[in-house]
Every structure is written in structure tokens, then in C-alpha cells.
């Protein structure tokens, strides 16, 4: 819609999500998350399990349950704040302008409905196509995502397809209406390693061809490396560092980013270079109000880290939430 290339397609501002439950304190799963996605851009959202990546993406898509959830902040898409949009308007946008691919292709398809119906239903909903025209479009879609013999596959049920084929079918459904934004939430984690690379390659190619913007959610910096323009690293519900991908990989400033990088095998490193996993577990966190959540696991910790929540600062095109960042010269901390 917008011709201004400098204006972001999606602007997330101060997004917060709390899960509320009677008789229990609220769980602040996402807090103060802000990032932009420009048209056609690929943005990575990286973090360990439980860091709030999925909740963030569900909030953007308007897919969080309505009960016992509080969402604040703004999600601007095409001048509309999606968080205040009437539900029926949101239904028109989902599947047409923004779409999502989920983590587990084994459970994300309806087992009792043929693949064909699950593809055509989104075409029929958002485009003025039905019957044979929709079937034809569906077959073309399956063909484009590399599913052989598409007309036969359309009549089959999910259990007759392998995991990789199912994820291809889900990608076909997501891209059916040529959305301008695609969110992929760990689309390869549930698949065999050999299939993972194929699916990533397919996503990359399709997104490039269709000009859609992509938010790639992953806990694997290796996935981000070959794909994303910018990367935001999340920890315990907040963005702790965000930068251009090259910048971030070359000069991580947050000790958590540094730790993630050190724990990823790198092709350019000499053989035998030891990997350094981050000590401790992601559940070993401090509540943000009392300091940096990563402090308990951080090798670069100083007393100031636990004095209060570190602010998100903007330094030279990079956002950083750390009172004692890694020095700019250090590439990969030991």
C-alpha cells in the first residue's frame, strides 16, 4: 500500500503481554518490546526457550487468547493499530496481509480435513475465487512449495504426508494470498536436520520472490546468519540487543548475545575450536524490575546490574539493554 520505502510495514512499540490468573501473580511474558519491519525486510527474533518470542508473534497476529491475557503497547500495520482494531477487521487482515507458519507441522494441520480444503479455504476467504479456480490455485501453490503430484496431494489427509511435506503445505497456505508480512515461528525445529535446510531455503526463496517481509523466530543464530537483515535478541520477555545482522555478529555488545554466538558452531572457525554454552538455564532469571534478568548467568556482571532494570539505549543504530556491555573490540568472548 505504502510507497514510502522508509516507512516501516510493521512497527511494534512497547509491546507487553501479561498472563493473568486468579489467585496467582501475573506472568509478564513480554515487556517493552519494540521493533520495526520494513517492506520486504527479513527480521530475526532470537532467544532461548521461554524468552517470549512466540507470545510476541501471537500478539502481533492477534492470536492470543482473549481471556486472562492483557496486551499493551501498539502494533502499527498500515497506519492501523492492530491491538485496537475490531476483531472482524483483524480477521480480514490475517491470512491476507499477514500470515504465519508455526513450529509443529504435525499438529498444525487439521487431521480430519483434506489438504486441498485447508489450502482452498484461505483462498476462498480472501480472494474472489471458488470451486475449480480455487482448486487450480491450490494445486499451483503446492507445486510452488515443491510438493510433487499436487492434484493428488490435495485430496490426501495430513497423516499421509511427511513432516517436511506438511510444513511445505503450511507454507503454501500462509503464502496463498501473497501477504506482505510472514511470521515464521521456528518453522524447522520439529523437522529432521536434512529437511530443515530445505525448508529454510524454500522460505528464503519464496519470501524473496514474493517481496514479503519476514519475521523469522528462532533460538538458533545459525538460522539467522544466512537469512536476516536485522536481528533482535530477546531474553526473559525483553529485547536486550538489536542491530543489523553483520553488526551484531561482528560486535555483540550484550553478554547474552556474545554467549549465544559463542555457543553456535561456526563454519569459519578452525576445527576443534571449543563451543561455549551459556552457563545456567533460562529459568534462572531475575525479575526485570529488580535488575537485569540475565545477571545470574552473566560473566560480565557488575554490581550495578542488580540495582534496577537497565534501560534500552540506542547507540549508533543499535539498541542495547546493558549497563556493562562487552567492549566493542571483543569479537567472541571466552
Amino acid at each position: 500500500m505504502t510507497n514510502d520505502p522508509t516507512r516501516p510495514l510493521l512497527a511494534v512499540r512497547d509491546l507487553g503481554v501479561s498472563f493473568t490468573r486468579k489467585g496467582a501473580p501475573d506472568v509478564r511474558a513480554v515487556d517493552g518490546v519494540s521493533f520495526d519491519v520494513s517492506p520486504g525486510q527479513t527480521v530475526g527474533l532470537v532467544g532461548e526457550s521461554g524468552s517470549g518470542k512466540s507470545v510476541t508473534s501471537l500478539a502481533v497476529m492477534g492470536l492470543l487468547p482473549r481471556r486472562n491475557v492483557r496486551v499493551d503497547g501498539r502494533v502499527i500495520f498500515d497506519d492501523d493499530d492492530l491491538l485496537t482494531l475490531p476483531r472482524e477487521r483483524m480477521r480480514d487482515i490475517r491470512g491476507r496481509d499477514m500470515a504465519m507458519v508455526f513450529q509443529d507441522p504435525m499438529t498444525s494441520l487439521n487431521p480430519v480435513v483434506p489438504i486441498g480444503v485447508q489450502v482452498t479455504e484461505v483462498i476462498e476467504r480472501h480472494q474472489q475465487l471458488s470451486g475449480d479456480a480455487a482448486d487450480k490455485a491450490a494445486a499451483e501453490l503446492l507445486d510452488r512449495v515443491g510438493i510433487p503430484d499436487p492434484t493428488r496431494r490435495l485430496r490426501e489427509y495430513p497423516h499421509q504426508l511427511s513432516g517436511g511435506m506438511r510444513q511445505r503445505a503450511l507454507i503454501a497456505m500462509a503464502l496463498a494470498c501473497r501477504p506482505r508480512l510472514l511470521i515464521a515461528d521456528e518453522p524447522t525445529t520439529a523437522l529432521d536436520v536434512t529437511i530443515q535446510a530445505q525448508i529454510l531455503e524454500l522460505l528464503k526463496e519464496l519470501v524473496h520472490d514474493s517481496g514479503a517481509a519476514l519475521i523469522m523466530i528462532t533460538h538458533d543464530l545459525g538460522v539467522v546468519a544466512g537469512l536476516c537483515d536485522t536481528v533482535h535478541v530477546m531474553y526473559s520477555g525483553r529485547v536486550v540487543e538489536g542491530a543489523q545482522r553483520r553488526e551484531l555478529f561482528a560486535r555483540p555488545r550484550h553478554p547474552y548475545t556474545g554467549g549465544l554466538l559463542a555457543s553456535v558452531p561456526r563454519l569459519d572457525a578452525a576445527r576443534g575450536t571449543p563451543l561455549h554454552p551459556i552457563p545456567g538455564s533460562p529459568t534462572d532469571v531475575l525479575a526485570w524490575p529488580s535488575g537485569c534478568a540475565f545477571a545470574p548467568r552473566c560473566h560480565h556482571r557488575v554490581d550495578a546490574c542488580t540495582d534496577g532494570p537497565p534501560p534500552l539505549e540506542n547507540i549508533g543504530g543499535r539498541s542495547l539493554r546493558c549497563v556493562n556491555p562487552l567492549p566493542t573490540t571483543e569479537e567472541v568472548p571466552a
Binding site: L63, R91, F102, P114, H126
Partner: protein, 334 residues
């Protein structure tokens, strides 16, 4: 599919042979033997001898069993000792009435139970949900005959909305080609007779359907609550599908699978439930006939009834499996 149906119907043969052997043994094992059972404990030796002669009870058991089997395959189960008419004839006379009643009960239970269970799940934790949960607990807990009396007293005796007993106003000059009075009225173009028979059905069907209704509400509710959290429902939401498409195609089709099983089990139980209901409403069906057979020790009738019930169970189970296969491609037979 046809092969599957035939195979399942063939399974009836061993079941019926086994069951008839059991029934045969049961009749011989009655205290004093079948002759005493027929005549009562104060039977004279002469009358016993006469009866044994009449029924061939003094012959060896294998001769008796052979004759019994060959009669059984010709649908000859002897005469009712009470009415002195063939059991088969009595069954054929009373069966349509009970079939009509059970069908009405089942239609009520399904027609109210599934929508109510669905709505309860959708209003989880609110008053409609609480009402349905409480109501279904009551429905299971209240004995059928008690409920039948209450319904009859309140709605027939006190309020006079419905007739108190019988199947049709005897002054109604109606023909009965099938023995199912509502259907008969429609077939013979006598709508008044149909309506009158329907009014006679309402209260007994409510009483008889109360337990299946309560169970269907609970199973549907629980199953919908499960299914709405499935990943494929989230996928459907992410496509921006209309709410009614999601409900029908993605939620209900999956949620109904366990309901089908329960409906089958409950449908089988309706016939034994009919014994109480038909007695309370003086409804001239198999149930009432069997109730009288029990108090008169009319073993020939009981034996025929038990065999009919067994056949019904197998047929209902077959229907359940067929409809299961229709809904769920994963269990479809190839």
C-alpha cells in the same frame, strides 16, 4: 467400506451362538429346572411331567440344544407363557414402539446435548457453563423412573400440557402400517394422529433421554475445550477464516469424535432404560412387555429380548465405527 460392514455383520454369528448357548444353559440351571420355573414352585409332579413332555425337556441336553438352535435360526423362540403367543410375534408388535421412543430420546439428547455442550465450552466458567455442568450432573444422578414420575406429575397431571400415558389417544381412528405411530400418521396422511403420537412421546423421551443428554453435554463440552486449544485451530485462526467455518470445520468435526462413541454406547442402553420409562407412562413397547415378563417369569420372552438386545448392540457398534470412519480418515479402512 462394504467389506468392512459385511465382516462386522459376520461377527454377529459367533456372538449370537455364544449368547444362545449361555441362555440355554441359564434356562436349564434354574432351580428345579425349566418346568418348575414355568409352573411355579407349587407345581405338582404330574403337571411338571406334562410340561417336560410338552417341551421335550426329558430328552438329552444335546437333542434339546439342537432343537433350540434350529428353532432359533428360524426366529422361533417359543411362546410367551403369559400371552401364549409366539415370542417373535410379540416382539414384532412391541418393537416399533420402543424403537420410536428410543429414537425420539436419542434425537432429543443429541439435538440438545451437542449444541449445549458446545455453548458451555465457549462460555467456559460463565453462568451458561455452570448451569450445564450442574444440570448434567443432576441428569446423571436422578434415577430415570423418578424423573419419569416427576415429569408425568408436573407436565401431564398438574399442567396438563401432555397426555399422561399411552402412545396415542384411543379415540384417534388411526392406521398403523409400521407400528411407529408418528411415521404412520405421516404415511397415511393423518397428521392429527402423528401430532397426537408425538405429544405422547415427549415426556417419555425426555425421561429416557435424560442420561444420554447429560452425558453428551459433558463429553461435547470437554471435547470442545480440548480441541479449541489444538494447534490446527490456531492455524485456522491465523488464516482469518470466518468464525463459523472454524467452528464447523475445525472445531466440531474433531470434537465430535468422542461424542460419536458415547452416543453409540448410550443408544445401546436406551433399550434397557425403556423398561422403566414405558412402565411409568404405560407406553406399550418392548420395555413394558419385558417388565411384565420379568414379574411373570416368562423366560421365553426374556430370552428373545436378550438376543434382540445383543443384535442391536452389534448393529449400533457397527454404525458407530462407520460414522467414525466417515469423520476421521485415520481410522478409515482401506
Amino acid at each position: 467400506m462394504l467389506k468392512f460392514v459385511v465382516r462386522r455383520l459376520l461377527m454377529l454369528v459367533p456372538i449370537l451362538i455364544g449368547l444362545s448357548a449361555l441362555l440355554f444353559a441359564w434356562l436349564r440351571a434354574l432351580p428345579g429346572g425349566p418346568a418348575v420355573a414355568l409352573l411355579g414352585e407349587r407345581a405338582t409332579p404330574e403337571s411338571i411331567a406334562r410340561v417336560e413332555e410338552l417341551y421335550g425337556l426329558n430328552e438329552p441336553w444335546y437333542v434339546q440344544y439342537g432343537r433350540y438352535l434350529s428353532n432359533a435360526v428360524q426366529f422361533d423362540f417359543g411362546n410367551s407363557t403369559r400371552t401364549n403367543r409366539p415370542v417373535t410375534e410379540e416382539m414384532a408388535r412391541t418393537f416399533p414402539a420402543t424403537f420410536e421412543l428410543a429414537l425420539a430420546a436419542l434425537i432429543l439428547a443429541i439435538g440438545i446435548g451437542i449444541p449445549l455442550g458446545y455453548l458451555a465450552a465457549r462460555h467456559y466458567g460463565r453462568w451458561l457453563d455452570n448451569m450445564s455442568v450442574t444440570g448434567s450432573l443432576l441428569g446423571v444422578a436422578i434415577p430415570v423412573f423418578f424423573l419419569a414420575y416427576i415429569l408425568k406429575y408436573v407436565f401431564a397431571v398438574r399442567l396438563g400440557w401432555f397426555p399422561t400415558q399411552g402412545r396415542q389417544d384411543p379415540r384417534m381412528d388411526a392406521e398403523h402400517p409400521t407400528g411407529m405411530y408418528v411415521l404412520d400418521g405421516l404415511l397415511t396422511g393423518n397428521l392429527d394422529a402423528s401430532w397426537d403420537a408425538l405429544m405422547h412421546l415427549v415426556l417419555p423421551a425426555l425421561a429416557l433421554g435424560s442420561i444420554p443428554l447429560a452425558i453428551i453435554v459433558r463429553i461435547t463440552r470437554a471435547s470442545v475445550l480440548d480441541v479449541v486449544h489444538e494447534d490446527y485451530v490456531r492455524t485456522a485462526e491465523a488464516k482469518g477464516l470466518w468464525e463459523r467455518t472454524i467452528t464447523r470445520r475445525h472445531v466440531l468435526r474433531n470434537a465430535l469424535l468422542p461424542v460419536v462413541t458415547v452416543v453409540g454406547l448410550q443408544a445401546g442402553l436406551l433399550f434397557s432404560g425403556a423398561i422403566l420409562t414405558e412402565t411409568v407412562f404405560a407406553f406399550d413397547g418392548v420395555g413394558r412387555f419385558v417388565a411384565e415378563a420379568i414379574s411373570n417369569r416368562d423366560y421365553a420372552v426374556l430370552q428373545g429380548f436378550i438376543l434382540v438386545i445383543a443384535v442391536l448392540y452389534v448393529v449400533i457398534n457397527l454404525l458407530v465405527d462407520v460414522s467414525y470412519g466417515l469423520i476421521d480418515p485415520r481410522v478409515r479402512v482401506r
